[in-house]
């Protein structure tokens, strides 16, 4: 995989648009030059992100190449930590991030809703699907379907479920074989897992049947994608539900045990959300960064090097959500960025949902 990335980089470096550094990108208003100048003057940009630094390396390097005057400080932290750090630092009135970029869509939405985001009408917004931005403040940057992951050695091809209904059938018919062998997020420990399941419950009327089927096979709840993936790979578990497709794709490249499917009845799609902090020390650099990540150039690198599909409508090829849409069609159900994400941040509602989930699982 590393090798692939390096090849990609080489290709990118040779691309014709890798010139005219720090000039106004094509299609942007001429006044954008002022933003770039101000950004260069600010000279430093702090990003808090939930995506691994290693995965982002090509993107970061390319940004630096384009804007060498802006020193980029990229901090990767988990989503809860990102949220806590940001609000506590803001409350303490000290330096914090200029840009927040997190896969915890609900927490990002909450920050935006609580007024932490700066309004910014990015020139790129016209290239984003409508569901992927909210109030000119927060923007989706990726297109990540949720998948079912399975162990290729131990789950025969005929048993691999293609839809949610097939999964229910498989588990009810082969309860003995899959007892203790199915895994999904522990929604009490993982905010992402919680988000997925609540979206499931919204989209899928038969969701609670699936939950009951999970209960019947004594589903193993875990706090992380990696943990699930590891156990599926080793054969300790056979099927993993609600695993971020990007991780599955990456892992499957090196691990012959791992297989994955995007369910064809519906596949949830989430997007890493990004916004500029209202209290940003470098608002212009932040804007330049947001525009860069959403640009064709940024999105291409993101898609090719990090197995994250592009959220843009106008990128062709296998790296784009558009491509995925052609394959899976209407089955793709992106989680819309907006106030709907806030529902379960209400303590009572959240605990109610957790209770219902645990009851369905028979815990």
């Amino acid at each position: 995989m590393n090798k692939q990335r390096r090849v990609m980089l080489a290709v990118l470096a040779a691309l014709p648009f890798a010139q005219a550094f720090a000039a106004v990108p094509a299609g942007y208003p001429a006044s954008y030059q002022a933003v770039i100048d101000a950004a260069n003057k600010e000279g430093k940009l702090v990003v808090y992100s939930t995506t691994d630094t290693a995965l982002m390396q090509p993107l970061l390097k390319d940004f630096q190449k384009m804007y060498p005057a802006i020193k980029l400080e990229y901090n990767d932290v988990n989503s809860t930590e990102l949220y806590n750090r940001y609000i506590s630092e803001t409350a303490a009135g000290g330096a914090s991030a200029d840009v927040l970029w997190s896969s915890a869509m609900d927490l990002q939405a909450k920050l935006v809703n609580d007024g932490y985001a700066m309004k910014y009408a990015t020139p790129e917004v016209k290239n984003l699907p409508d569901w992927a931005h909210w109030r000119d403040e927060v923007f989706g940057t990726t297109y990540e379907p949720i998948s079912i992951v399975y162990n290729k050695r131990l789950v025969p091809a005929g048993e691999v479920p293609k839809t949610h209904a097939e999964l229910v059938t498989l588990l009810t018919k082969n309860t003995a074989k899959y007892k203790g062998k199915v895994t999904t997020y522990d929604i009490e420990k993982s905010g992402t897992g919680f988000l997925f399941v609540t979206q499931d419950a919204k989209v899928n009327p038969a969701f609670w049947n699936l939950a009951k089927a999970f209960g019947a096979v004594d589903v193993k709840l875990q706090s992380s994608t990696g943990g699930m993936m590891e156990r599926i790979s080793s054969g300790e578990n056979l099927i993993g539900y609600n695993i971020l497709g990007s991780y599955a794709i990456t892992r499957a490249k090196t691990d012959p045990n791992i297989g994955f499917v995007m369910p064809t009845d519906y596949s949830l799609v989430i997007s890493r959300l990004m916004f500029v902090s209202k209290t940003a020390k470098a608002p212009n650099a932040a804007k330049v960064w947001v525009d860069y990540v959403l640009s064709r150039r940024g999105q291409s690198i993101l898609a090719m090097s990090a197995d994250l599909y592009s959220v843009r409508k106008d990128i062709a090829g296998q790296a784009s959500g558009d491509y995925l849409g052609r394959v899976l069609g209407a089955a793709l159900k992106p989680v819309a960025v907006g106030p709907g994400l806030l529902t379960y941040l209400d303590q009572a509602k959240r605990l109610d949902f957790i209770k219902q989930w645990k009851q369905a699982l028979g815990r």
Binding site: D76, Y83, A91, K189, S223, G226, Q347
Partner: protein
């Protein structure tokens, strides 16, 4: 000013700094527990909502129940085994005592997180040993994720703690009392049961309380082993609260913390009381001058087999599991080692700046941080050395307070301190923040090292310098410090190993620049990068092994 005059400037300053480092974080925890929202949120108010919430939460009660179960099991397993091990190694002619004595200490210096991880990859449902046993006998007679297994592993890995105290007490016992029993016709087993162990009963009692106390703080093992079946303990319940409400619930975490401290602090006081009365209790202990080992006779080999079996289960199985896992990129049923062999994890560590930084930082915090910590502990030690006044009593009690606060929590409290105390923000994202937290968390341990070194100095060596005209500070510089320099060096090595081992304190302080292997492991485990976890664990064990080797070379007494 009055205190300045009475106790002297430097002593007062040392104690003041120490008080700040101890009370600020714990004060924040206590205060936070009485609020109904994180203290930095604009809309927080006083109230007991946090306690109400956790007392209403069935998870809390199950965590409490599990914690008590594990703590009691640890007591029941570790005390008899630790006592027996101490008797065999300290008093009898058991073969291979030297290498065993060394191996015994491994679980103390290897992070419980690493051990727990080792058990998963070695004896989990598709662990290396599990698959092997399954091929051999067709079935697997254990389930490492069950609560009794966690308790058993916790018990076995805490045997060294009991061993330490029991063996140092047994070494101070004259062999005449045992020989007297042998002469009257007792077997070695009866000698241990009726004479030697009862004579060190105070030490066993003390270590029992210690183990029970550690049971209440236990985090790494249940975090890893308890996850698949959802067995929570208080510390992992606290960790779980990080995400339960989706938004930070520091008030809930602080409330749990207060509950934990409510149990551990009395236990710490009890330990202190026991330690003091133990010293008084041992009036008769026989003549120590001449020690002869008790011949085990026909029991020699069975006893050795028992000890080796314990070593196999607590040291070799988990560590070999980690080593194996570090060199395969995937594993499972039907996978051959040759097919899966890979150095990918190590290459990855080399290539990822944050992982590489974690390794370097771990070395830094162990070598330099450990050294500076020893200096700080020495300053505190000297401030209360040979002075029986109010200040010394204050120091005595202050040392105990961080002892009662689990590392996970201390790290969280320090995060708050760094965020909200003006002037500290700058060091928040430097390794100093982690070091400071480590130093406070391990204050009691470090102070014990230093004070035992200081106790080796006969008081008249210092008094004679005083009568010759040296001030107290001059005496410290010219007499005390040069005399304890070997003790300080040993403390440095031990602090190095302890700092390498630490994992929970850095969890909440983890940010770019402050990565250490310990907290990276927890974070990577949460993210599921198992092969990296294995490789980092192996590096961590290697660092500890280097510490052990240095300790061995310089004859450092590990049994502190």
């Amino acid at each position: 000013m009055n205190a300045l005059a009475r106790y002297g400037l430097s002593r007062t300053m040392v104690v003041l700094v120490m008080a700040l480092a101890v009370f600020m974080p714990i004060g924040l925890v206590l205060w936070q527990s009485t609020l109904n929202a994180p203290f930095f949120m604009p809309n927080h108010a006083y109230g007991l909502d946090a306690f109400r919430f956790i007392f209403d939460d069935s998870d809390f009660w199950s965590a409490l129940k599990n914690t008590v179960f594990i703590a009691v099991s640890m007591l029941v397993i570790a005390v008899p085994l630790g006592g027996a091990l101490a008797f065999l190694l300290a008093r009898t002619d058991l073969p291979c005592r030297r290498p065993i004595e060394l191996m015994v200490m491994v679980p103390v210096f290897v992070s419980p997180f690493v051990l727990g991880f080792g058990y998963v990859v070695a004896t989990g449902p598709v662990g290396f040993y599990t698959l092997w046993v399954q091929n051999l006998i067709g079935t697997v007679p254990w389930n490492v994720y069950s609560l009794p297994s966690i308790a058993l592993i916790a018990g076995l890995t805490h045997v060294p703690h009991v061993y330490l105290y029991a063996s140092s007490a047994l070494k101070n016992l004259g062999s005449d009392v045992e020989e007297a029993a042998r002469v009257t016709g007792a077997s070695p087993f009866e000698v241990a049961r009726r004479v030697s162990l009862p004579m060190v009963a105070p030490s066993l009692l003390y270590s029992g309380v210690l183990v029970f106390f550690l049971g209440f703080e236990i985090f790494g093992l249940p975090l890893i082993l308890g996850d698949p079946e959802g067995h929570l303990v208080l510390a992992s319940y606290l960790y779980k609260l990080t995400n339960k409400l989706g938004i930070p619930s520091y008030h809930l975490m602080a409330a749990v913390a207060v509950c934990i401290i409510g149990v551990t602090f009395p236990l710490v006081l009890l330990q202190r009381y026991l330690l003091r009365s133990a010293n008084r209790y041992i009036a008769v202990k026989g003549k120590v001058t001449r020690q002869k080992r008790l011949p085990l006779g026909q029991w020699r080999l069975p006893a050795l087999a028992l000890v080796l079996f314990w070593l196999l289960v607590t040291v070799i199985v988990p560590l070999s599991g980690i080593t194996f896992r570090a060199f395969v990129s995937f594993w499972g049923e039907g996978v051959s080692f040759a097919e899966a062999f890979s150095l990918h994890a190590f290459v990855e560590i080399w290539n990822q700046p944050n992982l590489l930084r974690a390794v370097l930082n771990s070395v830094l915090i162990g070598v330099i941080g450990g050294g500076v910590a020893v200096m700080a502990y020495t300053a505190i030690g000297l401030a209360s050395h040979r002075k029986q006044d109010g200040l010394t009593r204050i120091v005595d009690y202050m040392v105990l307070i961080p002892r009662a606060v689990p590392g996970l929590l201390a790290g969280l409290a320090f995060l708050w301190v760094f965020l909200f105390v003006p002037g500290l923000k700058e060091i928040r994202s430097t390794l100093i923040s982690v070091w400071l937290a480590y130093m406070v968390v391990w204050l009691a341990y470090g102070m014990r090292l230093i004070s035992s070194a200081l106790l080796q100095v006969a008081p008249e060596l210092e008094e004679s310098a005083r009568t010759l005209g040296a001030s107290a500070a001059r005496v410290s510089k010219d007499v005390t410090l040069p005399l304890i320099r070997f003790g300080l060096l040993s403390s440095w090595v031990l602090m190095f190993m302890i700092f390498e081992r630490e994992y929970s304190t850095g969890v909440y302080l983890l940010s770019p620049g402050t990565e250490v292997i310990g907290s990276m492991l927890v974070s990577l485990w949460a993210a599921g990068a198992v092969d990296i976890v294995a490789a980092l664990s192996l590096i961590n064990v290697a660092l500890v092994a280097i510490g052990l080797a240095i300790a061995l070379k310089f004859g450092v007494n590990l049994h502190e």
